[in-house]
């Protein structure tokens, strides 16, 4: 068993005081806090390593290149990619999905072709497909969900058709926490020869990722959801597909030779990495992976799940509070609404207790519509949260009731 106090000491921001109260950070699905090791790595990089990568022969540049490429190796190992060049640096999940939409899908889409997504997707896994559909005349199809917030799997067979060119779905719903039967979904698509993109933004902090086992064609994630820096993420793609895809953006670092008549492109992964990359944050991502790798992951996830169950049971006891999404398999994310108090007001009021929660549509407006709510309040846990913090959350929600004179 791990020591929660020691874990908390690794995250300096957790001793921050907000509105005169200790910070209680329960918006981990939006972004996670950063351990000292990641912060130190970023500082160290700018103090001792900073130079442009892949460009020069001097020692400093070689040092930067080495660390930058070592971070790629760490990601490869962490997500179990077969080849290091299958790991493409991007700004985050959003850019990874846009890259696949424009570079993989657009060249092959014809009018009437279909892209299958699900009713619980984040806007980042809806809008890029809509853009490419508008450009080509393709059609978006949506796998529906039930009242618990689970995919209706019986409908999948009818929606995977001979016109389906890609099935893109989220591993874990950012808004309601549903963990999808990812492997089963991928296998179903593959039975019909349909490639799959997994939006892994919420998977990174909650599950061990093995892209070889999943056998998905593409996997997208962002470092900042998994204790790394913002502005850096990864697109994993199967090598044989990435090799056939045209570059996403043109510029420096992604070419072999350039003349005004013709440019030839660099090999993977550089083909997709035009311009000076986000070197420091890529190295910071590597540091986050190192940090997570030395923790007892199984114990952490068990503890985090205990927090989730405890919070869920306690929230259910509050009169007038309704939880949105109660899938059988759920990550530590709870969305809820309260009679007589708008999520936005809940967010402001609990903030005065130092409690940071999200109150919005969570970039999943179609999902909100499905549940007939304009927005929800959402608490999402990390392994650095505590049972005492849940007690303060409950006290703060009691304060919400007091403000509006609710029973």
């Amino acid at each position: 068993m791990f020591n929660i106090e020691n874990i908390r000491k690794d995250f300096p921001i957790l001793s921050e005081v907000i509105n005169g109260k200790p910070l209680i950070y329960l918006d981990n699905a939006a972004t996670t806090q950063k351990p000292q090791a990641v912060i130190d790595t970023l500082k160290h990089y700018y103090e001792h390593t900073n130079a442009n990568v892949h460009r020069s022969v001097y020692t400093l540049s070689e040092r930067a290149t080495k660390e930058y490429e070592a971070a790629r190796d760490k990601v490869q190992k962490y997500i179990h990619a077969t080849h290091r060049e299958e790991v493409i640096w991007v700004r985050g999940t959003t850019e990874a999905i846009n890259l696949v939409a424009q570079s993989f899908l657009r060249p092959q889409l014809k009018a009437g072709d279909e892209i299958l997504i699900t009713a619980m997707e984040h806007h980042a896994n809806i809008v890029p497909w809509q853009l490419v559909a508008e450009q080509t005349g393709a059609v978006i199809k949506v796998l529906p969900i039930n009242d618990q917030g689970e995919l209706i799997l019986d409908e999948l067979d009818n929606l995977l058709t001979s016109r389906t060119k890609l099935f893109a779905f989220t591993y874990i719903s950012n808004a309601i926490g549903t963990i999808n039967p990812v492997k089963w979904l991928i296998d179903k698509a593959h039975e019909k020869g349909i490639p799959v993109l997994v939006d892994g933004a919420q998977a990174l902090p909650h599950v061990k990722i093995n892209v070889q086992q999943l056998n998905c064609e593409f996997f997208a994630c962002s470092a900042h959801k998994g204790y790394g820096p913002t502005g850096i993420g990864v697109l994993y793609g199967k090598k044989e597909l990435l090799e056939k895809m045209p570059p996403y953006q043109g510029g420096g670092d992604m070419i072999r030779t350039v003349s005004f008549e013709k440019t030839t492109f660099a090999e993977l992964p550089l083909k997709f990495e035009a311009g000076t990359p986000n070197i420091a944050d890529a190295i910071g991502f590597g540091a986050a992976i190192d940090y997570l790798s030395q923790l007892d992951w199984k114990a952490l996830m068990h503890y985090e799940h205990e927090l989730f169950l405890m919070a869920k049971e306690a929230l259910k006891e509050i009169p007038g509070l309704r939880i949105i999404g109660e899938a059988k398999d759920q990550a530590s994310i709870i969305s809820f609404v309260m009679d007589g108090a708008h999520p936005h007001d809940i967010g402001t009021i609990v903030d005065s207790y130092g409690v940071a929660i999200r109150a919005s549509h969570h970039c999943a407006m179609p999902l909100m519509k499905r549940f007939c709510v304009p927005a929800t309040a959402r608490v999402s846990f990390s392994f650095y949260n505590t049972k005492e913090e849940i007690q303060v959350l409950l006290e703060a929600l009691h304060g919400v009731k007091k403000v509006f004179g609710l029973p």
């Binding site: 919005s360 549509h361 304009p374 304060g399």
Partner: protein, 156 residues
Amino acid sequence: MGETTTNIIMLSDLYQDIIVDHTRSPRNYGKLDCASHHAEGHNPLCGDQLELFLHVNDQGVIEDLSFTGSGCSISTASASLMTEALKGKTLKQAEALFEHFHALLTQENAEASEDLGKLIVFMGVKDYPSRVKCATLAWHTLQAALKRQAGLVSTE
């Protein structure tokens, strides 16, 4: 569960009794038949939606106005109190009131203009920058309705 007084003091600046009252029972709520002006307002970040109806007579006086929609306490109470404040006002007076209200919420050291009346309760919103757009949504929708701007007005 122990309640700390600090929370209540801070929050009571924002959630004043009048605001809570207008949240729980909004005035002039519903559609207006034969509206001369109409507009929809959205606050895309929090999902607030508002529809505003006005009847302005030939003399440029707002004879009647109403709203529908759903939103947070601040946006609902603001719409409700706005409809109360504007009934019987001329368009010119309405424009001046909008400017005074906007200044109250956004300008440092803004002096509260006398014509604001009850609207002064929104002064506390200034300390919550992310909530200013909740309080101004109804007013921006009013501007859109009076200028007969096509389409939606959005706070973003």
